[in-house]
Amino acid sequence: MDTYRTCHCHCGIENMAIINLQNVTYKYPLTDAPALQNINLQVNEGEFVAVIGPNGAGKSTLCYTIAGFVPHFFKGEIAGIVEVAGNESSKSNLHEWVLNVGLAFQNPFNQISGAKYTVFEEIAFGLENIGVPRDEMKSRVEDAMKLTGISDLADRSPYSLSGGQQQRVALTSILVMHPKVLVLDEPTSQMDPIGTREVFGVIRKLSESGITVVMVEHKIEWIAEFADKVVALYNGSILLEGKPQEVLTSDLLTDKGFGISRYTSVARKAKGSGMWKQTHLPVTLDEAVEGFE
């Protein structure tokens, strides 16, 4: 397990990037402006990357690109290189691609198949498609449901669930496929704080077990605590990329209409009137408490 974490410790070992985007520019069909412009992004195996940005910045399009839906499903024009787990997107099919990369959509309604009567069957759907033997399928579905805490929903209809529960089902149906790379587009947007905390806990466990995670998220406090790296997207381009502390406290974010932590915001105002004396601004509660004390 620990071998996957070596890439974060700046020990000088050069890790192979599991996600490699080079000069990627992409335009949806029937639109004039590109949704992504000249994106260069490398993510190492086991890294947990958070993507932030205002609406329309290209966050979901970036997710679709890593997950192969751009361009294989959405069509449109793509330039540059997209490589995941050693395969190049332009030379692959979507059905091969999804064996390595799982995508949980922003809106779980868009993901649930509609073809299944129970949560259990819904989660087993992907495994059926790739012909996993019945016994293995059953144990994988049960394990995945246990991991995300939805075992008690097994016999419910996916459509009878709350938004937060549907999001967990959508996440579980991805995890059951055992992807190397997990792409999550605002996976907790419809959850209450306790649900959010649980899901972040699950994702952290997966990340620690070596799965690479790319996650779009607005909840800054959580990103600061969990992510290894933050990518700030703006107008289809990468505006900032780096350690959470550096990116999340940058003045650029406020100027461009990004959401920032209230701790950062209040400390910046306090700094103006001499009540914040640290050089760095805080992102988390603990940093804020320490700085103000």
């Binding site: 205002p54 209450d192 509660l285």
Partner: protein, 269 residues
Amino acid sequence: MNIEISNLQFTYPSGVQALFGVSLNINAGEQVAIVGQNGAGKTTLVKHLNGLLQPTSGSVRIADWNTKEYSVAKLAHRVGYVFQNPDEQLFSKNVGTEVAFGPKNLGYPNEQIQTLVKDALTMTELSDKTETNPYDLSPTWRKMVAIASIIAMDTPIVIFDEPTTGQDAANIARIANVIKALRERGKTLITITHDIDFCAENFERVIAMSQGKVLLDGKANDVLGQDEILATTYVDPPQLTRLGKRLRLPRTVKNEAELLQELRSRISH
């Protein structure tokens, strides 16, 4: 226009009881946020205000109207409801028609409809999008269309169900501006939200619900400071309230201005 809810109980046709005796008075012009875990009964409660649901027992009055005696169409003159998912409420070919639908349906004269629509579009920053098809707009702008179409009905009471879910910082600021403008006009606003920071910054009264009952009800500062009770309904106090508590400030603070003021007075002492 006061709202009077007394001993409201509600059981869904499936047999699941969602409300266990809720009594509340909300005065004309109050801004109330309702918080609490998924399944606490928040949406079930507010759906009683415009007659989408009828009490199993107890009563709901909107001023002199008992909701039992009025249709949803009639109650729409007094209570506007902005759904959580804008796609459940939008159906017109362009934004202007969509926003005009409500007031037209309430039977207002043409001139008044035009004024109401114009005003609602200005408030929601949609004036340059009247000819656009709502489905060509981003989800954040569709949310503003849904809000505008309710504001245009000019009801004295407006309900927002999770207005900030999935919205970015710029749009949350826009929604906060709409709430402020409606407050200045003396509207009664009731908002269900998981966004406790948004709640703290925009509402004076907070009601916390748990398991179909009212757990806490009072001034925002008093309610948001009760972290142990809030935890039982899975609500964390706002970030700045938590910070104030950790810094052992003498009173509960709910926003930047209050926190900075307490820090200043601490320094000057």
